[in-house]
Amino acid sequence: MAAHPGAAAGKGARTVTFAPVRVDGVGLRFGRRQLWEGLSFELAAGEFLAVLGPNGTGKTSLIRMIMGLLKPSGGVVEVNGRAPVQARAGIGYIPQHRAFDPDLPLRGRDLVRLGLDGQRWGLGGAGRKLDERVGQALREVGAAAYADQPVGRLSGGEQQRLRIAQALVSDPGLLLADEPLLSLDLASQRMVTSLLDGRRRAAGTPVVFVTHDINPVLSMVDRVLYLAPGDWAIGPPREVLTSDTLSRLYGTPVDVLDVRGRIVVVGTPDDHGAHHDHGPA
């Protein structure tokens, strides 16, 4: 473990000393099935890390480990130098889009408020300061106009905007997003990625972004963590997303093509011969 910065250095030094996320020699095993082992990387402040790979390779499990909801079968996961469970308050989480019941009596404002103090016990009466923070978060993502509508009546893109406000309202030091673009139209996908990119540029908040399609985030990604069945690789997109690397990961010839700036992967074992470009065209 890194040396403690000492009391004299104060609180500011702490955040500099520890990586926002440190994954060291981590393994994931379900029963007798070993998904990966020896996974190691450190996230840097303000970094945008895309986690790629086919279904069933533990992308969501990695996110759950960082949130302290899943124990690795080996190795250490740390968030800001602490056990993930103790760091939860500083993590903003954006799930994949899942439609709310249209009758759910919950406004966008209520959803965002839950991201602020929903985990605390008690009634939590009206507080002007908290309302103001919720209002601020809603304005930052451009959702103020429909903040008083029931969430179930909003479009997928509008709901995902509220999800981002919900994740940002607690002013997190780390953002985790698990397939946040799934089932969104292209315009909403751009909106989601640019809001997350804007936040990490403005506040230096690192982003771990699980996706099956690299293309919508290609321009903002610093590094890619590619999880393949039984193996993994991490590095800049132009190093990881190559025919050589992916062929090595899959143990079978895989071609990575650059088609007008879009990355297209052909020949992975889960590619059934059909058009496969890591996501919807």
Partner: protein
């Protein structure tokens, strides 16, 4: 003659019991409806019946057996934290068996059949003073439980995935919900009977969901609807018909009206 009835002690007891039980039923109903756990309420009331029938057979107070049966069911459901179809089929199988055991207990019980009828269909006008005091204490307990766990309870009901990420203990909240619900169910059985518990726990909350856009308003509305249906039902039944029928009828009328009103809201462009 009607005014004479209104002066009677048993009518006062019934009205007070109705108010006490209506308030908690409406409040917990919000969480039941948002969690999609209506079937669980049915299971708790029917297994509460099994407990009550067992208590009658053993010569104990049926209320003790009722609360016991509901609580055991609630605890089991909360700990299992089943989801979706698995939950439906598991609850269905267990409650069918439990009801069968209840029938056995009743056949073994040599007492009055009225006791069984009261359990099934309710007998709010037969509520005694001590029973009323018991209802009030349990209601206070449930309301205190809801207030103490309100925010994580709401979070885990409407948005479990992010709630878990934020550190809300989902399983603990599930157990808390089902235990509070079991106590409420045992209360509602004493007013409307095993077979009509849903009319106080589900119908008012479902109606309120159609009318309100935020959780707090929805909960208060559900409480008001449940109390109004109970009191109205008891008052009309003094003139004619069983109170449980009128309570169910009023509650359903409000639900239909709310659906009609909510339908217009649904059509409105977002």
């Amino acid at each position: 003659m009607y005014t004479d009835l209104l002066g009677q002690q048993f009518v006062h007891n019934a009205l007070l019991a109705g108010a006490v039980v209506g308030l908690v039923s409406g409040a917990i109903g919000f969480f039941v409806v948002t969690r999609g756990a209506s079937f669980a309420v049915h299971a708790m009331s029917e297994l509460g019946f099994t407990g009550a029938a067992g208590a009658l057979w053993l010569g104990l107070s049926p209320v003790v057996g009722l609360v016991g049966g509901s609580l055991v069911t609630g605890l089991a459901l909360g700990l299992l934290s089943l989801r979706g179809r698995e939950r439906d089929s598991a609850i269905g199988s267990v409650l069918a068996f439990g009801l069968g055991v209840g029938v056995l207990f009743l056949s073994l019980y040599q007492g009055y059949a009225t006791e069984a009828t009261n359990l099934l269909f309710g007998s709010v006008v037969a509520v005694s003073r001590p029973q009323l005091a018991g209802l009030a204490v349990v209601s206070l307990l449930v309301m205190a439980g809801i207030a103490a766990s309100y925010r994580p309870l709401l979070f885990s009901s409407v948005d479990p995935e992010v709630a878990e990420a934020r550190g809300v203990p989902l399983r603990a909240l599930s157990v808390i919900t089902y235990l509070l619900l079991a106590l409420t169910t045992a209360e509602a059985v004493q007013v409307v009977g095993v077979l009509l518990v849903l009319t106080l726990v589900i119908t008012p909350a479902a109606a309120a969901q159609r009318l309100a856009v935020n959780p707090a308003t929805s909960i208060v509305l559900a409480m008001l609807i449940a109390v109004a249906a109970t009191e109205g039902g008891i008052l009309i039944s003094l003139e004619w018909g069983p109170s449980s029928f009128w309570i169910a009828a009023l509650s359903f009328a409000v639900y239909l009206a709310a659906r009609a009103a909510g339908w217009g809201r649904l059509r409105r462009p977002a």
